[in-house]
Symmetry: D2
Subunit: 369 residues, 4 copies
């Protein structure tokens, strides 16, 4: 019995997840069989073209209709669409997979998480970097105590696609439509990775101080006018974890020369790790007793997920994280199992982002207890 899947959204994320689903049978033969049943959107023409290309059986412009007819609902629309349809699906007992950040506000994220707790079905939040083999390998090292007590966590996500002040205004520059800027779009990934990697050893973030910055206040709209930019171009934060580790976090869309530099560094009493998304097959590892950071190509047969792919040294790409993520989520759906990162994780990250925003506004350290 194949699972019928409905997907809201057919642009960047829609394509990434559709591709992931399409690749499961060849590489993850034990994944549940699925039908890409229905693609949801507003623009019928674009939707129809996308459904053809992405391999969906049919389309609809009515999310509720889709939700009723599927075994799993992917909510990949913009931020402000997340709460309503995620809750609707969960209330109907349909497992949900929702893009990050979970919601425009903590309150909405809480409502979504409440719905998840009530529903008793998987509700995943799309922190795909948890599914990078190097990251999972790193997580294993930390859990095995190879780093000892955690002292430092450092995360940054640098891009430069807004560095040109003349780059055109888009919905991503608007607070109403996008919720936030670099903080929500990039920072959410970093905070989640930090939680994922050191959560068990170092605990949650207990206090945080944050700062936002918009470097370009208004941008041209393309018709000779300019329009105000109402989201942040960059954020900075320093944090304390329950277990005593300290963390520093940063993201920017104005970091000239950086394309997708999501870098995580963790230092502990016994060892250290470093990872960068631009070289996602690699992990830097200072192990106990060694003299420096070792550059590990995490592509061996016994590395996480790698036995499904290619021989050692045959690197995988960014999109493979979605295949792993979908494999885990759809397996959980089929077996009615737990899936992580869940809405709980989405909510936890949302609270940290909100605290950063609060601290930016009031200039004070914010407690997260």
């Amino acid at each position: 019995m194949a699972l019928d899947v409905g997907v809201l959204g057919y642009r960047f994320m829609g394509k990434a997840h559709s591709n992931a689903m399409a690749r499961l049978p060849m590489f993850f033969p034990d994944a549940p069989e699925i039908n890409r049943e229905v693609l949801v959107g507003r623009d019928e023409e674009a939707l129809s073209e996308a459904a053809d290309r992405l391999g969906f059986a049919r389309t609809t412009t009515d999310p509720s209709e889709a939700i009723e007819s599927v075994d799993a609902f992917y909510n990949l629309g913009p931020n402000f669409v997340h709460p309503e349809y995620s809750i609707e699906a969960l209330e109907a007992g349909v497992p949900v997979f929702c893009e990050k950040p979970l919601a425009p506000t903590v309150e909405e994220a809480e409502e979504m998480t409440d719905a998840y707790r009530e529903a008793g079905v998987p509700a995943g939040c799309a922190f795909n970097y948890r599914f990078v083999p190097a990251i999972r390998y790193a997580k294993g090292l930390i859990e095995d105590g190879e780093l000892g007590e955690i002292y430092h966590v450092r995360g940054r996500y640098l891009q430069d696609w807004l560095v040109d002040p003349e780059a055109e205004w888009s919905w991503r520059n608007d607070e109403e439509l996008a919720g936030s800027g670099a903080l929500g779009d990039l920072g959410a990934h970093t905070i989640d990775l930090a939680r994922f990697l050191v959560g068990e050893q170092a605990g949650e973030i207990s206090e945080i101080t944050g700062q936002l910055r918009t470097f370009t206040d208004e941008r041209p709209t393309g018709d000779g006018e300019t329009r105000e930019v109402t989201v942040d171009d960059a954020y900075l934060a320093t944090a304390e974890f329950e277990g005593g580790a300290v963390g520093s976090f940063e993201a920017s869309r104005n970091a000239n020369g950086r394309k997708n530099d999501h870098t995580i560094e963790i230092e502990g009493s016994k060892g250290s790790l470093t990872f960068s998304l631009e070289r996602l097959n690699e992990l830097g590892y200072k192990r106990e007793g060694s003299r420096g950071f070792e550059t590990i190509l995490v592509t061996d047969g016994d590395d996480p997920y790698i036995d499904h792919w290619w021989p050692p040294g045959h690197v995988i790409g960014w999109e493979h994280t979605f295949v792993h993520e979908n494999y885990e989520f759809l397996s959980a759906v089929e077996e009615d199992d737990e899936f992580e990162p869940s809405f709980e994780d989405g909510l936890a990250t949302q609270r940290v982002l909100a605290a950063i925003q609060e601290s930016d506004e009031n200039g004070q350290r914010v407690s997260l207890d």
Copy 2:
């Protein structure tokens, strides 16, 4: 009218090409429509399982039967299988795509190439690294004269999966079955890349000196016996190009710590380039007027093939080279167009490999005129 495709071979290369074909519709919508029609092999059970997984309509153990029924034939079997069925297909007017190295001997490669010239249909040789975006971007720079006159070409392909003298004997250690060792398996890629990149500026390799080495003479067979290793573990060569450039080439399966280090470096009067397969999204470029090597992430929208994939900085993997390769080959088949690298290229590389072997044996520089 979809193209019916037959594929001989269902292991590593069979999987890589089947995956590539499966991904074309979503990412290269203008690629010809194809049917994965028939999978060819000898072991019926394994074949049937593979056909299911790789998405083939049917199977056969008779290559000739397959050839008769398809619009394009992929010869992905071991080396010694290449000549017979490739020639059979070409004589039947069926376009062929053949794995590298083209044939066990230069003579057979010549026969295959003759058949190609007669047939007037595309016959491709599987040098997939020509389809790495960074390599194609490099090729463009060289063609545009950005490197000026070419002085140095350096290529090496280092792996370490045979570094353990106790690693078990396999068919890849046997000259009869494998043709050659590191030279044919890895060196073929390097020589082809060198020809591809600098051929127009520096001409062909005109003289070469070579050296082979087998570090481990016999290996355990798993049943308490040992068996002789009759192929090389490593080769070294130095060469001269028609235009005066010099080249040095090397490959090894005993290079401890190297997983898939296919590195190419080219230096010219105006600029230089460096590329490594383990970081295949990156190109090192010393441009005229700059002071050092620039690390370029070749993932921008206007980089070769990238507009089909993801936004800047979202890296692709090794397997994507096969998608590009299949896109080009199948498009050529449909439009009855030229495809490169063709059997001509396979033959040219084969001649260089043979000259290296000859030089190893007689201790003399070998002319390739």
Copy 3:
């Protein structure tokens, strides 16, 4: 007429500066001639041995006596010794060169700076990293507008010599003796470099938020006892510059695997830079119109100070920064010229460090106006 120089301190910094002075005649023939006249310390025996080795004509245990008899006084003692003898020298009209951080408190730093303003002679603060050729070259690029408007400044100084909780207690773990921990010892360098590099374009730091952390509360003393650690092992800070740039700063002595990783990164509207002390001959430069960071070996004949040393590619070391620093300071002394970094710079940095400490205590963003 040679300058008589007196030096207080004969350990790490004493050796670094004595070596620098000794090398001037051979490499900077236009430097003023100097006598290493008198070495000042408390332990007569050790002092005498050091004077022999470091090439001083005589020794004294009385700083005041030394000050009276020299043309320039180097105050290289521990932090708490800085104010008294620096002020005494300046009041006597003797130029002073003082180690960093300038003083234990802002108040004392202000008094020292007042003395400097009154004295009208050079008073240098030992921020030697301003004299790394790559840093000076970077400064030139920024001044020439090659980076455009400054958006991001990122500085960190990571070491790991205290990562072992069993490492013995030393005076550097004591607030009374050392003033502060990583903040004063390492952070002072980072803050000064940030000011030096972007001060003219981005202005001074106007607001800052900080956090300190002591990971190991007490350490063994070697006699079976333990003693309290009263300084920080690490600090974190995020800042805003007058011109709108944002900065993040960090240092640690517990960053496992990092030996002397003083890394500075600056991103602007047109270009970006990156520098790390562990590779001090190199500068990473993303220039306008290029596609990535260029790795520049700053060892060409027209790079700052390099014509005094060796041909291109023949790298210099950490100690060379002291030669350049002494060359500039002693030249300023001889010609009664300005020297930077002066006590003004030392004071400015001290204020930033104090603001970080204040913010750590009260949990609030601190304004530096």
Copy 4:
């Protein structure tokens, strides 16, 4: 009783060695006391200026006179000056330190080595890269068997100061004056390092094949004329060691973008190493049981020579290799001890270089038995 030292040559190498001697007392207090007694050259004015700057007591234009009056004679003149005065000194029982390559021809190198054997005093050949701490640390690892059986040795020395075809002709482009080009100037260093590092495990080079190339046949002289270039711009070689390892070697002065890239890579059955002169404080080490190359900063207190310098992470420069070299040589002179690399080593390398040249000429592999 201080050693009187005479030095022939006062340019690049004269400066490097004079500086090294000058630094010994402060950093190597157990080094023999020396007098920089006499500087030898032909141009009296330049010589006198140099003697002042480099700290020599007197000058002479008569090498024989100098040899008679010193306890050690440094022969740092151009290649063709090496045999005569080195032999004269050795015949007079005066220890000699001679620049590399040892002599213009193998025959002369043999005569020099004969003189050394007869004299029974130290005669050093200036392969200073043996004295890089990272290289000595590497040597220790190899001797301790940490790499196991040696399979691959790879050495290259790339520079780019002749990449511009319009760069002016100099004596270095002339065979009579310079002996050879990249082969003798750069290749000598590489061959010696290979011998030093793996000689005991892998034996000597037993067979070699070589190739020379002059990219620019004539160069402008500055007066509107051009003059023929009679030396090589680049060499390539592949070799076999007695123990079965293979080696590839290369050097160029036309390698655009490379300043002083002397890179050595060694791979063995248990581990591997990589080193580059442009980052001379670092060693790449793949150790048994690890998963990748570790980047080691060879600046710890127990690393070779480092206890004489600065704390961990405070990097040293190219010139420090000369201090170590002089320390060892002068200590050997004082104690009438062995010094390595001696003229024996200079001769062994000379033979390899000659074999490369012979192979280039006759197109055949050359045996070195």
